[in-house]
C-alpha cells in the first residue's frame, strides 16, 4: 500500500510538471542566448530606463512562447515589485474593440484596486486607459500588455493596436506591448499606420535541439530526492528512467515522433500519455508505456472510419470509387445505386438490399464525413439527387478494406477491377 501511495504521488508529481508550462520551460531557458534571456533583457531594460517598447514572439503553436513570457514576467515581478502591471488580452476572446477596451479597463481597475463599472461606455473606457497610462508613466510604473493571438487583433480591426501604440508615443507613458502569434507573418497583417508605430523586434521560437530534449526529458521524469518519497524508490525510479532514455529503441521512437511533430507541446502530450499508463503496482515506467503512447498518438482517423464501416457501406464506397475511375465527373446516389445494381447483376453477390437501406448507409457515411456533398448550392433537391464526392483517397480505401475485419473478397477485386 505504501508502495502504491508513493507511485501515485510520483505520478501526480510528474503529471503536474507536464501540465504546467512554466515548469517545463525553465530548464530550457537556462542558457544565456536563449529566448528567455533575450526577452528578459528587452523588457527589463525598458523598465529600468523608463522607455516604451514593442516585441513580437513568433513560433509554431506549442513552442512555449506564452510560457517563456510568463517566466520572464514572473521574474520581473519579483525583481521590481510595485513597478510592473500586467494586462493580458487574448485575440480569441477580445478581438472586438468594445470587449478589448472593457477588459483592459477591468484589469487595470483590479490591479489598482479601483471600482470597475460594467456599464462604462467605450469612450469612457478608452479615456480611462489613456489617463492610466499617463499616470503610470509619471509614477515610473511600467504596464506590460500581453496580446495573445496577435494575428487576430491585427486582422479584426486595428483600433485597439493603434490607440495603444499611439498613446505610447504621444502620452508620457511606460508601456511594453508583447504580441504572441503562431503566424510568422503577423506583422505583415498590420495596417500601415500601426506598423509604423510598431518596432520590428521579433523573437523566433524554434523547435528545441536534440540535446535540449534529452535534458528536458531527464528533468521532467526524474523524481527529486527529498523526504516525501522513500529513498530506495527514488533511486530505483531514476535508474529506470536512465535505462529507458539511453535505450536505442526509445531513441528511435522519439526520432519518429519528432519527425512528425517537433514542438515541445506535442512532446509533452506524448510523455503525459506514457506516464499515465504507468503500472501503479510496480511504480516504475517501462518502454512499453512509451510504445503504447506512440501508437495512440499516431492515429489515422480515415482508416479507422473505413474499418468501422459495415459491409453495405463498403459496397457504397466501392461503387463511388468505380464511378470515379470511369471518369464520371459527378455522380449522385441514384447513379451509385445503378452501379450497385450492375455489380449485383454481373457477380450475383448476396448483398443486395433495398433502396431505403442503402440510403441509410449513405447517410451514415455522410455523417462520418467519409463522403460529402460536392457543392452546397442544391439545397432544395432531394438527398438522392445531390452530387456527392469521396473524402478519402483510393489508397486509404484500399488499406482500410484490407484491414477490415470481414470485408468480402469480391469487394477488393471490384476495387482493383
Amino acid at each position: 500500500m505504501g508502495k502504491e501511495n508513493s507511485a501515485e504521488k510520483a505520478l501526480n508529481l510528474i503529471r503536474g510538471r507536464l501540465c504546467d508550462p512554466t515548469s517545463v520551460f525553465r530548464p530550457l531557458s537556462g542558457s544565456s542566448d536563449s529566448n528567455f534571456s533575450k526577452l528578459k533583457f528587452i523588457v527589463s531594460t525598458s523598465i529600468t530606463e523608463g522607455c516604451n517598447n514593442s516585441i513580437l514572439l513568433l513560433g509554431p503553436r506549442g513552442s512555449g512562447k506564452a510560457a517563456v513570457l510568463d517566466l520572464v514576467v514572473g521574474d520581473l515581478m519579483e525583481e521590481y515589485p510595485d513597478s510592473v502591471t500586467l494586462i493580458r488580452l487574448n485575440g480569441l476572446l477580445h478581438s472586438e474593440d468594445n470587449c478589448a477596451f472593457k477588459e483592459i479597463a477591468r484589469q487595470l481597475c483590479m490591479e489598482h484596486h479601483l471600482l470597475f463599472s460594467k456599464m462604462a461606455s467605450f469612450d469612457e473606457n478608452s479615456q480611462f486607459i489613456i489617463a492610466m497610462l499617463r499616470e503610470c508613466g509619471l509614477a515610473h510604473k511600467t504596464i506590460i500588455f500581453v496580446l495573445d493571438e496577435f494575428d487576430m487583433f491585427a486582422q479584426a480591426s486595428d483600433l485597439l493596436l493603434y490607440s495603444l501604440l499611439d498613446a505610447m508615443q504621444s502620452v508620457t507613458s511606460q508601456a511594453v506591448v508583447v504580441g504572441i502569434s503562431s503566424r510568422l507573418d503577423a506583422d505583415q497583417l498590420l495596417e500601415k499606420r500601426v506598423r509604423s508605430r510598431f518596432s520590428h523586434r521579433k523573437i523566433l521560437f524554434l523547435p528545441p535541439s536534440r540535446e535540449e530534449i534529452d535534458s528536458l526529458l531527464e528533468h521532467l521524469l526524474s523524481l527529486p530526492a527529498d523526504s516525501s518519497f522513500p529513498s530506495g524508490y527514488v533511486s530505483q525510479f531514476n535508474e529506470k528512467i536512465k535505462n529507458i532514455t539511453s535505450d536505442t529503441r526509445f531513441k528511435d521512437m522519439l526520432k519518429t515522433f519528432l519527425n512528425a511533430n517537433s514542438t515541445v507541446n506535442s512532446l509533452l502530450k506524448f510523455i503525459f500519455r506514457a506516464v499515465s499508463s504507468m503500472n501503479l503496482e510496480s511504480g516504475l515506467l517501462s518502454l512499453e508505456n512509451f510504445k503504447t503512447a506512440l501508437s495512440s498518438m499516431q492515429r489515422q482517423p480515415k482508416l479507422e472510419a473505413v474499418r468501422d464501416c459495415s459491409i453495405l457501406e463498403l459496397y457504397v464506397l466501392v461503387c463511388m470509387r468505380r464511378l470515379e475511375v470511369k471518369e464520371q465527373s459527378s455522380y449522385n446516389f441514384i447513379s451509385v445505386m445503378k452501379e450497385y445494381k450492375t455489380i449485383h447483376d454481373s457477380f450475383q453477390t448476396s448483398d443486395y438490399y433495398a433502396q431505403n437501406v442503402c440510403l441509410r448507409a449513405f447517410e451514415h457515411l455522410r455523417e462520418r464525413e467519409v463522403i460529402c456533398y460536392a457543392e452546397n448550392r442544391g439545397q432544395s433537391q432531394a438527398v438522392e439527387y445531390r452530387p456527392m464526392k469521396l473524402l478519402i483517397s483510393a489508397s486509404e480505401l484500399h488499406q482500410g478494406m484490407r484491414s477490415h475485419a470481414c470485408c468480402p473478397a469480391i469487394l477488393l477485386k471490384l476495387l482493383d477491377h
Binding site: 470587449c99 499515465s276 480515415k302 433495398a354 455523417e367
Partner: protein, 535 residues
C-alpha cells in the same frame, strides 16, 4: 442531508437511465421541481448515486475494456492535473454513457453540458456556469440563469470565479465516504454540432484552447465528439486534445451487448446465431440493430408457448425455418410502424399474400398508408409532370385520354445510343424536373378522366341543373384539388422549387420515387408505364 441525497438520486437516476444503454428499460423521466428549501452543495456535483467498482463498470460495458481503462488512466488518480481529453467515435458507441459511468466510479465532481441541448454559445456558457454556481432554475427566480453570459470573454472571467469558489469549498469540505478530490471536471458532449453554429469555428477554437487560457490546474476538460479530431483542423492552428477512440462494436461484442438484458439467454443466443451475422452486414449500429431485432425476436418466439425453455438443436432448426422468410424482408426495412395490431396480424398477412401476382411470381407490395383517390391521381400527375418533358404533353395526353402511339422507331445508330446514355446520365444527375401548377392540373384532369370513363363523359357537360352524382363529385373534387396540392406539399411528396424568373409563378417538383408511384398507380389500376416517357 438524506432528503437531499434522495432528491438528487431521483433526478440523477432519470438522467442516468436516459443516457445509459439505449435499449435498457428506461424509467419514465420525471423532473421534480427542485425544492427551494434544499441548499445544493458541492457534493451534488458528483454523480450522486452509489459508486460502482471497477469490475462492475467494466462488465456493464462489454467490449469497452481498453477504452474505459484508457480514460481512467488519462483522468489520473485523485488530485492529479490532466490535459484535455477528447473521446470520439461513431454514434451509439457508448461514449457519453461510459464517460458518465467512469465518473460515477471515480466519484469526482463534474459538470456536464451537451451541445445538442445547449444549441447556442449563450445557453452552453450559462448552463456550465449554473451548474458550477449550484444554481437551479425554478419558479422563485423566474427560471433565469445565475449570470448572463454570451461572449467568450465574459465566460472566461465568470468561469474562473466560479471554479475558484468551487475549489475553495472542495478544499474545506470533509468528504463522508469516498474522497472527492480537489479538481472539477468539465464534460462537453456533442462537440461536433458546434460546427453548424453561427461562428462555430471560433467557438470550437475557444473550447480547445480553454485549458491554456484559463491556466487553472484544478480543471480537467473532457470533450465528447461524434467526429474524429481531423475534422476540427483549421488553418489557424489549434492545440489538439488527447484522443481516445471508441470503435464500432465487433460482432462478438454486439452479441454480448444484446444478451445482457435478456430473460432467457439460451433462447436469445440461438436467435442471435442465425440473425446477427446477416444484419451486421448492413449496419453495426446498436440502436438500428436493436429496433430490427426486437420485432424479429417477437416473430421468432411466436410458435413457442413457453418462453423460458432452452431450445435443443431440433427446436432451433424448426424455429429458424419458421423465421427464415421474414429475415430478408426485415433486412430491407429501416423501421416498421405497425398500423395493424399484432393479434390481427395473421389476417393482414393473408391479405398481403393475395397481392402476389401469379404470373410474375414476384411479390408486389401494397401501399401501406391511406390516401384519397384525388390525392393519388395528383401524386401520379406530379410524378409524370416531373419525369416527362413538357413538349410531349400534347401527344401523350390527347383528348381521348389515351396514349398516342409512338412514331415508328428508327434503328438506333451508335452515336445516338451514346447520346442517349449521356442524356440519361444527365437526367439522373439533374433529378426530377420542375413544373408550374397549371401543367399539373392539366395532366391531373386528363388522367383522372382516364380512370373512369363515365367521368370523361360528364366532364364535358357544362350544364349544372341535372348534376348526377358523378358530376357533383367531380366538381367537388376540383375545388379540393388546391387543398390537396398543399397537403401533398406538406407531406413532402411535392416541393416548391425556385420560381420562374420571367413569369414569377411558383414551380413545383415531385419528390416521389418510381416505386412509390408504381404502388399508387397499381392501387388505382392506372397504367402508369404507358405514360412514362423513356428516352
Amino acid at each position: 442531508m438524506s432528503r437531499l441525497k434522495k432528491h438528487m438520486t431521483r433526478e440523477e437516476n432519470s438522467k442516468v437511465t436516459r443516457r445509459s444503454a439505449r435499449f435498457s428499460s428506461s424509467v419514465t423521466p420525471d423532473n421534480p421541481e427542485p425544492n427551494p428549501s434544499h441548499q445544493p452543495t458541492v457534493a451534488d456535483l458528483t454523480f450522486g448515486e452509489e459508486s460502482i467498482t471497477l469490475d462492475a463498470l467494466l462488465s456493464s460495458f462489454p467490449g469497452r475494456r481498453s477504452q474505459i481503462l484508457d480514460l481512467i488512466r488519462l483522468i489520473g488518480p485523485l488530485d492529479s492535473p490532466a490535459l484535455p481529453v477528447m473521446v470520439y467515435g461513431d454514434a451509439s458507441t457508448g461514449k457519453t454513457s461510459v464517460a458518465l459511468q467512469v465518473f460515477r466510479h471515480l466519484n469526482r465532481p463534474f459538470v456536464y453540458s451537451s451541445c445538442r441541448t445547449c444549441c447556442s454559445p449563450r445557453i452552453l456558457f450559462e448552463s456550465i456556469l449554473n451548474q458550477l454556481l449550484l444554481h437551479s432554475k425554478c419558479s422563485s427566480n423566474g427560471y433565469a440563469s445565475a449570470k448572463r453570459c454570451d461572449k467568450p470573454s465574459d465566460f472566461v472571467n465568470l468561469l474562473k470565479e466560479a471554479l475558484s469558489s468551487v475549489v475553495e469549498t472542495l478544499n474545506s469540505t470533509k468528504p463522508e465516504r469516498k474522497p472527492m478530490g480537489k479538481m472539477v471536471y468539465l464534460i462537453v458532449d456533442h462537440v461536433d454540432l458546434i460546427k453548424e453554429w453561427d461562428k462555430g469555428t471560433m467557438i470550437l477554437q475557444f473550447l480547445f484552447s480553454l485549458y491554456s487560457v484559463l491556466k487553472m490546474p484544478q480543471l480537467g476538460i473532457i470533450l465528447i465528439s461524434g467526429l474524429p479530431p481531423d475534422v476540427y483542423y483549421s488553418n489557424v492552428g489549434y492545440t489538439d486534445p488527447l484522443p481516445v477512440y471508441f470503435p464500432e462494436y465487433s460482432e462478438e461484442e454486439l452479441r454480448q451487448i444484446f444478451l445482457k438484458n435478456q430473460a432467457n439467454k439460451k433462447l436469445y443466443s440461438a436467435f442471435l446465431d442465425v440473425v446477427l451475422r446477416p444484419f451486421c452486414r448492413v449496419t453495426r449500429r446498436v440502436e438500428e440493430l436493436s429496433t430490427s431485432l426486437t420485432s424479429l425476436f417477437r416473430k421468432y418466439c411466436e410458435p413457442l408457448d413457453d418462453l423460458t425453455i432452452s431450445p435443443n438443436e431440433d427446436l432451433k432448426r424448426r424455429l429458424y425455418s419458421n423465421l427464415k422468410p421474414h429475415i430478408t424482408s426485415c433486412l430491407n426495412e429501416i423501421f416498421r410502424i405497425s398500423s395493424r395490431p399484432l393479434d390481427g396480424d395473421s389476417r393482414g398477412e393473408r391479405r398481403q399474400k393475395a397481392s402476389y401476382s401469379s404470373e410474375k411470381g414476384e411479390e408486389l407490395e401494397m401501399l401501406d398508408f391511406h390516401m384519397s383517390t384525388s390525392a393519388k391521381y395528383l401524386l401520379i400527375a406530379a410524378f409524370l409532370a416531373s419525369r416527362n418533358p413538357a413538349t410531349l404533353d400534347a401527344s401523350m395526353f390527347d383528348s381521348t385520354g389515351g396514349m398516342d402511339n409512338r412514331k415508328r422507331k428508327r434503328k438506333a445508330s451508335e452515336k445516338s445510343m451514346e447520346k442517349k446514355e449521356m442524356a440519361e446520365q444527365e437526367a439522373v444527375m439533374k433529378g426530377p424536373g420542375s413544373f408550374p401548377l397549371e401543367r399539373l392540373l392539366a395532366i391531373f384532369q386528363c388522367i383522372a378522366s382516364v380512370g373512369d370513363s363515365s367521368f370523361g363523359e360528364e366532364e364535358d357537360e357544362e350544364g349544372e341543373d341535372e348534376a348526377t352524382g358523378y358530376d357533383k363529385e367531380s366538381k367537388n373534387m376540383m375545388s379540393d384539388i388546391l387543398l390537396q396540392v398543399s397537403s401533398l406539399c406538406d407531406a413532402n411528396f411535392i416541393i416548391k422549387s425556385g420560381s420562374c424568373p420571367l413569369e414569377g409563378s411558383i414551380r413545383y417538383r415531385s419528390m416521389v420515387s418510381e416505386d412509390l408511384s408504381l404502388k399508387v398507380a397499381r392501387s388505382l389500376s392506372f397504367p402508369l408505364s404507358k405514360y412514362l416517357y423513356r428516352r
